[in-house]
């Protein structure tokens, strides 16, 4: 796209904050849910829910960091061929 030179890679900062919320909810929901199922299956009541929620939060934060936090530091020629990824 010809306007990409002017467009920041990804939405402007304060706008991106609103999309981040969806990730922060998805993470604990998904892995907390899987943990809950694992607990039911293995009879280990609170252990995997706990691990799942915490792990889900960590993963969600990691995704947010990968998507929104690495634009400025990573040069376009870095390891992956998709120099930047919008949103």
């Amino acid at each position: 796209m010809d306007d990409d030179a002017h467009r920041p890679a990804g939405p402007p900062g304060e706008a991106a904050a609103w999309t981040v919320l969806a990730y922060l909810i998805s993470g604990p929901l998904l892995y907390g849910g899987l943990g809950w199922l694992a607990d039911r299956w293995l009879g280990t009541k609170p252990i995997f829910v706990f691990v799942g929620i915490l792990g889900g939060m960590a993963l969600a934060l990691y995704v947010v960091w990968v998507r929104y936090g690495t634009h400025d530091r990573r040069p376009p020629s870095a390891s992956d061929d998709a120099g930047h990824h919008c949103e």
Partner: protein
């Protein structure tokens, strides 16, 4: 659900029942409700205002034209161009502008005398709008990059396989569930809670002053009305903000689906 203030008092706290208001003796799933009348009224008001605002367009605008242009310009440039990008934002401006104006007017109806009902406090309306956004940002992505490309786009590139295995389900859940659900719930929750709060302060104030029969409660009731006023002002802010955020997120999701990786 009714909450009793003190023994023997008959104060009915506002509840979810206040939001179900079928009219003209209708009932059931096809009832004509206050919300459905309000949204029809909003369509009439919006069409009327926009026709008035765009009638006899002039280089030196009238007040109406100026206001219309301000709102349109804000959506077109602030939400369309700046977020979707100057290359292909124009075809989304009609959608974004209609969405913003529709939500804004329906939200403001929450505090406009006589109407006083925020349509979006009935969850069906935000769900419908969120579904429109959901279908559009997926369709736009599939059209721009093909079905495979659209799904590939949801996954951040350049991650090792073990991390991908954990992240792919997370991304899919975000794109197909969390995004539309939070979009609808945010709008619904804000309008529902705000309206409930206003009804509580107004009804509480009225009860304390007129029906409690305890002279000491009268100043408390007056304070309740002060709070109702303060919350009304706060609601105006929330109503603008929620209309803006809903449209902003619609634009962001569309932009995300369009964004190319090269």
């Amino acid at each position: 659900m009714s909450a009793m203030l003190a023994a023997g008092s008959g104060f009915e706290a506002p509840s979810t029942a206040d939001f179900w208001q079928p009219l003209f003796g209708t009932d059931g799933p096809f009832a004509i409700t206050r919300a459905s009348i309000v949204i029809l009224l909003s369509a009439v008001v919006i069409i009327g205002l926009l026709l008035l605002g765009t009638r006899r367009l002039a280089v030196v605008p009238t007040k109406g034209q100026y206001l219309t242009e301000q709102v349109y310009g804000m959506v077109r440039n602030g939400l369309g161009r700046d977020i979707i990008g100057s290359h292909d934002f124009l075809k989304f401006v009609p959608l974004l502008f209609s969405m913003f104006v529709l939500i804004l007017v329906n939200n403001l109806f929450g505090i406009i005398p006589l109407v006083q009902f925020p349509t979006m406090s009935r969850i069906g309306f935000p769900v419908g709008l969120a579904l429109v956004v959901f279908v559009i940002y997926h369709l736009v992505g599939i059209r721009a990059k093909g079905l495979g490309g659209h799904f590939k786009h949801m996954i951040p590139p350049g991650l090792p396989l073990p991390v991908l295995l954990l992240i792919v389900p997370l991304e899919l859940l975000t794109y197909f569930f969390t995004r539309p659900v939070t979009l609808a719930l945010r709008l619904f929750g804000n309008m529902f809670a705000g309206h409930l709060l206003l009804v509580l302060f107004a009804a509480g104030g009225e009860y304390l002053i007129l029906h409690s029969n305890v002279p000491g409660y009268v100043p408390v009731g007056a304070f309740s009305y002060v709070m109702a006023f303060v919350m009304t002002v706060f609601e105006i802010l929330v109503e603008f903000l929620q209309a803006y955020i809903f449209t902003l997120l619609a634009a962001l999701y569309i932009a995300g689906s369009l964004a190319d990786e090269h």
